[in-house]
């Protein structure tokens, strides 16, 4: 679609993007609305404005936060402004026919997933294409999702997740939905840049963006055949080694032990303020959670990807990423009976060593 735009349309969208970006930087909701509605008034398509203006600016917001150019408040304000504009735009799109000729789709974020905007954009795109859409919002507990599906029986479920940590929760949701013979299309950066985790977890389809998702749904997804709930170990036989279970169940003890070890080995930590100690504890907890996630998917890239991303975040805030290494060493000592975990930790340390030898680069998008 983007490539089919005329030059004039392209100019309109580029101008709107520029104006919207300036408006969210200034946290000026009114100017933001002017930018978006101006583009619509000049004839830009609703879908193009949603995806090529709002979603594009939102990605830039995530990048700005990762690079420490945006504060938390700026990031949240930008998201809130985008949310309001999308809500206002919905009033301009004609109501879809009540029969929902194109089908009914439930759009939801995985439990624990707070970034609702990508899912919301998809919901609006589908609504614009004539679907009847139930948008359940951010962090939908799987029991709520299933209860909703029992009462509505949609043609498909679109499941969004941006954080790989939510993959186990996404897996639960995918298998539970499929057990109702409803197909699941997965989307969002949690599922990998090429959808590898969507395939791993047995989703019926994966879409890199909202347009691709809409086109997939337009072609129709086959209903999953089986009625019984697939258990996680059927998709992921490596879980039988119990490493994921044991690491996850003892994660608090792991974090405590690693923190105690750090205090002993990193003298600088003794001068930390309470808040600094707490940040460190959060970082260690994150490392353990991502290690657990890598064990769940048996994919070391998830762990090294996380370390790279954290390295970028730290370096943007003038903290060298090698501060993470002692933590990995301590975890290696704690987890010496876990061969898969040791493999991931070794790869993680290698990633940090390689980072030390190169200049910092901007991190991946945190919020798209």
């Amino acid at each position: 679609m983007t490539e089919a735009l005329t030059a004039a349309e392209g100019d309109t969208l580029a101008r709107a993007r520029r104006e919207l970006w300036q408006a969210v930087c200034a946290r000026d909701e009114y100017a933001a609305a002017r930018a978006v509605f101006g583009a619509l008034d000049s004839g830009a398509g609703t879908e193009d404005v949603l995806l090529d203006v709002i979603a594009a600016v939102q990605r830039e917001v995530g990048r700005a936060w990762a690079e420490n150019r945006f504060s938390v408040a700026q990031e949240h304000s930008a998201t809130a402004i985008h949310d309001r504009i999308i809500a206002a735009m919905a009033h301009r799109i004609p109501e879809p026919s009540p029969t929902g000729a194109a089908g009914t789709v439930t759009v939801a974020c995985v439990d624990g997933e707070w970034h609702a905007l990508p899912a919301r954009l998809l919901a609006e795109v589908l609504r614009g294409r004539g679907y009847r859409v139930d948008f359940l919002g951010a962090q939908v507990p799987t029991p709520h999702l299933i209860a909703h599906l029992h009462s509505t029986s949609p043609t498909a479920v679109a499941l969004s997740s941006s954080i790989p940590l939510r993959l186990p929760a996404a897996h639960t949701a995918i298998t539970a939905v499929q057990a109702l013979a409803i197909p699941v299309v997965a989307g969002g950066s949690a599922f990998g840049f090429d959808g590898r985790y969507a395939r791993l977890l047995g989703a019926d389809a994966w879409a890199p963006d909202a347009r691709a998702a809409a086109e997939l749904l337009g072609r129709g997804l086959r209903r999953p055949a089986r009625g019984a709930v697939r258990q996680s170990i059927e998709d992921l036989p490596h879980l039988a080694d119990q490493e994921y279970t044991l690491v996850l169940r003892s994660r608090r003890q792991l974090v405590k032990n690693a923190l105690a070890g750090l205090l002993e080995r990193v003298p600088a930590m003794r001068a930390y303020t309470d808040a600094q100690h707490e940040r460190t504890a959060e970082d260690v907890a994150h490392v353990v959670e991502f290690l657990g996630c890598a064990l769940y998917t048996d994919d070391g890239d998830l762990f090294t990807g996380f370390l790279d991303w954290t390295g970028d975040i730290l370096e943007a805030r003038r903290v060298p990423s090698r501060v993470l290494d002692p933590c990995l060493v301590l975890l290696e000592e704690e987890l010496k009976d876990f061969p898969r975990a040791l493999g991931f930790l070794a790869r993680g340390r290698e990633t940090l060593r390689r980072r030390d030898a190169r200049p910092p680069v901007p991190g991946p998008d945190s919020s798209a």
């Binding site: 946290r27 909701e29 809130a80 402004i81 707070w114 029992h150 707490e278």
Partner: protein, 567 residues
Amino acid sequence: MTAPHSTGLTIMTRVERPPAHAGQGLLSSVGASWMRAPYPALVVDAHGGVVEVNARAAGLFPRAAAGVPLADVAPDWLVQAHGRASEGAGEPAAGPGGSARGRHAQWSLEAHPTRGVDGQIVWWLVDDTDRALAEAALKSEQERTAFLADASSRLLASLNSQRCMEVAVELAAEFLADAAVLVAPASGRRHPLATCVDGEVEHLLARIDPSAVPGLAEALQGFPPVPSRWIDPASLPDWAVPGGFGGPVGSVVVTPLPGHGVPAGALILLRRSDHAAFDTSEEVFARVFAARAGAALSAARLYMEQSGITATLMAELLPPMLQRVHGVEFAGAYRASQDSERVGGDFYDVHPGTGPGEKTLAVLGDVCGKGLEAAVLTGKIRSTLQALLPLAGDHLQLLRMLNGALLNSRHTRFATLVLASVLRREGTTRLSLTSAGHPLPLIVRHDGTVEEAATSGTLIGALPDVRATSAEVDLRPGESCLLFTDGVTEARGGPLGDVMFGDRRLRAALAECAGMPAEAVVERVHMLVAEWIGDNRHDDIAVMAITAPRTTHLTAVDGHTPGRYTT
């Protein structure tokens, strides 16, 4: 049948045992015992003429005798097998590859050749009629069992009754018949129908006369099914034959779908006239399937009814959607202590002032306890407050009335709450805050300073008298006031798993929220607390932000002026 059974193993040993050069010599030496062998055997020469027939073979082929051509007495498949075996006469021995199998009259036979002298071939026959029948029966039984297992899991997958009907007709039309029509009990005067032919499912809601189909009215009332042979396919009304059926109906089965005490409907199975009619075992099997479909449909219907009732009752208890009122932003977030629930003992409401010059009343509170019981009491408090709105200007008076109402109710629980009367005048938003035993509201100034509102008061529903002092707070643009329940500050978790979120972390989080819109403040606090909790147990959590919008432009898109994108 003609011979007692033998296993395949003994057949093979029999075939292998006679040496290749035996033939007539062997026959003469065993003579009579060959004639009395318990298996049919015949000797045929290279030209297809019968040489000798033992007693069992004579029973199978009564006209077979020495000199008679095999083709005149035996079935074609044996004649052809003999032709093939004779062509390979130069080979040392006919291997198992020379064996053949086929039917003869009512029997199913295996024929194994061994070579005799002068190109003669001895055909050893084994009657496997019973085995073939048993195999066919086993296969059909296995298919039925597999179908029932598959049917059960597909039927039980959904608790949506329409989806369940769809699955039932799909399965029936795929396995039991050419087309299936499921007639559900009438809702009002009309019956929901689901039809399936060639995998195409259709749903209808139609006024039908069940007595038009023989046995249907009875099936819908739960009487035993009428035998298929009693139903004249020609008498079926149009609605009972799906559109795409094509061709005349050959046979019909009408079977009830037994439910939980009341029939869940009836299933009409149709076969085309070129398809064998339903036999008794198929009718029985249709009933077995119908029992499963009926149970699944009843469960789905019961679930739909219950969830409909729950949704209706719950609607009043769910936290409301908040929005901008008279130029002030309100946003709320709620999380019940149980992930499977949507309501609990925390609540909030915003009652907009009747006009821009009138105060808006916001309330957030916490009833002692969790779950549905606590939620019911929040409903009572919310509707009592609604009734007391005319008194909203006097918080103490309002709390006294509410206290009286709670003390007189059958509930023994008490509650804490915060009242906030909000009025915006020009650039300033004035809040009148009163806490009744509730955690104190926090105010975020534009520079990130966080202050506590200086209000205090007793909880309500416990003591005969209520005392409270209010605090007046002015919000400038970009400043927010956060009302929250103790589920926020008392949330346990964090990286170590057992630390309280506490006041300090809440204040630190709020300090970053200066200048944020109300939704963003609420989302930020809610998210930090949820991440802090992780998968720990937690109490109900409610958060509400009251925010003076940051940009002065926003007066133009106020809630009461026809702004361009107010929602």
